[in-house]
């Protein structure tokens, strides 16, 4: 249906991810979105941290950078500030972005720097074998939460909204078409944009929490999510335990690099 090949580093295949891992489905959606936008591969710079999801940058034929754990946004900020013509896309996991990288996450959102973040939320640390994440729902099990997680979980998207992001959306791999469209809109929107994707991790999360097969996990997304439009018509009780998908925020706010450019230009004019 769609030819992914020209965007891939085929010699690195097969993917490192486990059988049934949702990350590959997200990767495909990302490629379709970039293709739709008609971006030149040379102008796309993809930056990731450390984690299963962050291995993505090794497979795509862009300018790619696999940084340190949690720090992708700092490298990306340097790139965007230094070379604003690049489309900078950050690939990160729930742990990478909101545990160790939480500070850079809220600051990039505050600056509203023109970077698109695709956040692979699998509710767990996949790469290191299933430790609890700040996004693991309360009560769920992880290798470091053998009796169930006793901490409260983050609302990742809400955090980005509060910090000042221009565009915030949530999607599932179940609805990969919506996912693709949201990624497209996120890249289009000037400023900090986030797409939080719920991406099943059958190995480190599913198994331990008896969530069934990869298929079960994908189908479960259908049940647990409601669209923004549907949610608006639902009562608080009905929404209990539901995850809202779709565009949560889409506003225009001053963008960091453009504001800085104004400063540079003010001297150009003078001179």
């Amino acid at each position: 249906m769609f030819n992914y090949e020209s965007y891939l580093r085929l010699d690195k295949f097969p993917l490192i991810w486990c059988s049934g891992c949702g990350d590959g489905i997200v990767l495909k959606s990302m490629i379709r979105a970039i293709d739709k936008l008609g971006l030149s591969k040379d102008d796309v710079c993809m930056v990731s941290g450390i984690g299963c999801s962050s291995r993505l940058t090794g497979y795509v034929d862009f300018n790619t950078l696999h940084t340190t754990h949690g720090r992708a946004l700092t490298f990306a900020t340097g790139i965007k500030m230094a070379k604003p013509r690049l489309h900078v896309i950050v690939v990160t996991g729930d742990g990478d972005a909101t545990a160790i990288g939480g500070n850079h996450y809220i600051h990039a959102a505050r600056r509203n720097i023109d970077i698109t973040v695709i956040l692979f939320n699998n509710f767990i640390y996949g790469m290191t074998g299933g430790q609890v994440s700040p996004c693991t729902p309360k009560g769920k099990r992880a290798s470091t939460a053998p009796y169930g997680n006793f901490e409260n979980a983050f609302n990742i998207s809400g955090l980005a909204q509060a910090a000042g992001a221009s565009f915030v959306a949530r999607a599932t791999v179940y609805n990969a078409v919506q996912l693709e469209k949201l990624i497209q809109r996120a890249i289009e929107r000037k400023g900090f944009s986030l797409v939080e994707v719920l991406s099943p991790c059958p190995t480190a999360y599913g198994r331990r929490n008896r969530e069934g097969t990869p298929v079960d996990m994908i189908l479960q997304q259908k049940e647990t999510t409601v669209s923004v439009a549907a949610a608006e018509k639902m009562s608080a009780e009905e929404l209990e335990g539901k995850i809202i998908t779709g565009v949560l925020t889409d506003v225009e706010r001053p963008e960091c690099r453009e504001e800085y450019q104004k400063l540079i230009d003010s001297f150009r004019k003078e001179g």
């Binding site: 249906m1 030819n3 992914y4 891939l8 295949f13 993917l15 891992c21 590959g24 990969a176 990869p214």
Partner: protein
């Protein structure tokens, strides 16, 4: 126009790259027409005739291992 397009005969060509397929069963179970089956841990086309070229299997295959092409559609004019 939508009507015509839909009525045009669809003929599927499904390619499975077994070197990449990890046997996650996603394509098999989520195909609305039960076109696919598992064999020796890999996906396999069983009932090509039933395929409606809906593309769902390809869309959701995490490993780029299954490719569906509508043979009656020129590759250039993909939707």
């Amino acid at each position: 126009m939508a009507e015509e397009t839909l009525r045009r005969k669809r003929e599927a060509e499904i390619t499975i790259n077994t070197a990449w397929c990890k046997g996650c069963v996603i394509c098999v179970e989520l195909c609305p027409e039960q076109v696919l089956v598992m064999e020796r841990g890999k996906a396999k086309v069983a009932h090509l005739d039933k395929c409606t070229v809906c593309g769902l299997c390809e869309l959701r295959c995490p490993d780029f291992a299954i490719v569906v092409v509508d043979k009656n559609k020129s590759p250039k004019t993909g939707e």
